[in-house]
Amino acid sequence: MSDAHVHAHEGQNDSLFKIALNLTLACFISGAIIAGTYAFTNPIAEKKMVQLKEDAMKDLVKDAETFQPVEGKDNWYVAVKGGEEIAYVVPGESKGYGGKIEMLVAVTPDGKVIDYNIIKMNETPGLGDKGAKEPFKTQFAGKAAEQLEVTKDPSNQENIQALTGATITSRAVTKGVRDAVEEVTEFTGVK
């Protein structure tokens, strides 16, 4: 038991340089190990990232064959099927109940929603986070920008039905999608 402490006493006489060297060495070794691992995992991780992104987009636009980055727009992709541009996949963002909501929205070139995917949000689980799920999501398919408006009237089929108890989230998601749609229509110049 007292061993360690006796040890501690002996340390007193070590030179400054020796102490420093000790930590340097530790860091060097650590660096070496990390570097080795990084060299090994990084390519895999990068591949995985690309793959994930593809998957996510594929999820939104099921029948797309490839996705190509859009010139001049960060993180915009256009889905191509048979050489035809069938959809744009663009990032969207808005402020929800618990902070920023980030999403990926798929829009047809003529400004109709295909689907969207929430990438990041901090809404209340069980309440606001239903905004990322069915059946709320389904309502968006095929709607144009001016239809993207939240309603609490159950008979209204035209617009988006609010989630019970999470109107704020509903509005936020709807707004994020609408902004994305509007940006796409502006870009493509339709209508």
């Binding site: 020796k18 000790n22 930590l23 530790a26 650590s30 990390i34 990084n42 991780a45 689980p125 069980g126």
Partner: protein, 210 residues
């Protein structure tokens, strides 16, 4: 026999007597932050288990060469290295889990339990006991995480590991996956832990006297 016993005792110590969460009250942040569902709790638990065991082994190997003046920084460097490895590996192979655990993965570095075991145990013991100690602590930590997460997920979401347990009649009590539910759950679990301990001590003293 006695060898075996002490192996068991070293291991058991971290699981029960000195459970990192319920008894030592160290590394509490993940016990709340990533226990709203079982999957992330387990991911965190295993990560910590790996880090603490690996670090204990590393420290017990290098302890002779570490200058006491820079003991803490060196230990931390070691922990940080291992954590970074875990990060890199998870990022490469389980990217979704990596995102779920987010910042808390990085924070494993500063979980007091890991440094504490390095200081208290690994720096004074040989490789095998250190391994056992780390492993025991890791198991204790993971077990506690699992228990907390199971309760919170079950009552807060009606599911376990994402699988629906209660039927649709169950109206989940959201509070369980919100911060207050987490705190109160752990508080009650600690009380339960103490009750069991008290009960066992009573039994033991009764047996001892008889």
């Amino acid at each position: 026999m006695s060898e075996k016993q002490s192996v068991w005792a070293t291991f058991k110590y971290g699981v029960f007597e000195a459970n990192p969460i319920f008894v030592l009250a160290l590394s509490l942040c993940p016990a709340l932050a990533v226990t709203s569902n079982i999957i992330s709790a387990l991911g965190m638990g295993f990560s910590v288990m790996f880090v603490i065991t690996a670090n204990n082994v590393v420290i017990s190997i290098v302890r002779k060469w570490v200058n006491p003046k820079v003991r803490v920084p060196v230990y931390i460097t070691s922990i940080a290295t291992i954590v970074t490895l875990v990060q890199l590996i998870l990022q490469a192979f389980f990217p979704t889990l990596y995102q779920e655990l987010s910042i808390y993965l990085a924070l494993i570095v500063v979980f007091a339990i890991i440094l504490a075991r390095a200081e208290v145990f690994a720096s004074k013991n040989t490789v095998f006991p250190s391994f056992l100690d780390g492993f025991g602590m890791g198991v204790g930590f993971t077990g506690a995480m699992l228990l907390i997460a199971a309760i919170r997920e079950l009552f807060g979401n009606g599911t376990l590991a994402g699988i629906q347990i209660f039927g649709s009649w169950y109206n989940p009590a959201l509070v369980m996956i919100l911060p207050p539910g987490g705190f109160i759950t752990i508080g009650l679990l600690i009380a339960l832990f103490n009750l069991i301990k008290q009960h066992r001590a009573k039994l033991r003293s009764q047996r001892g006297e008889a």
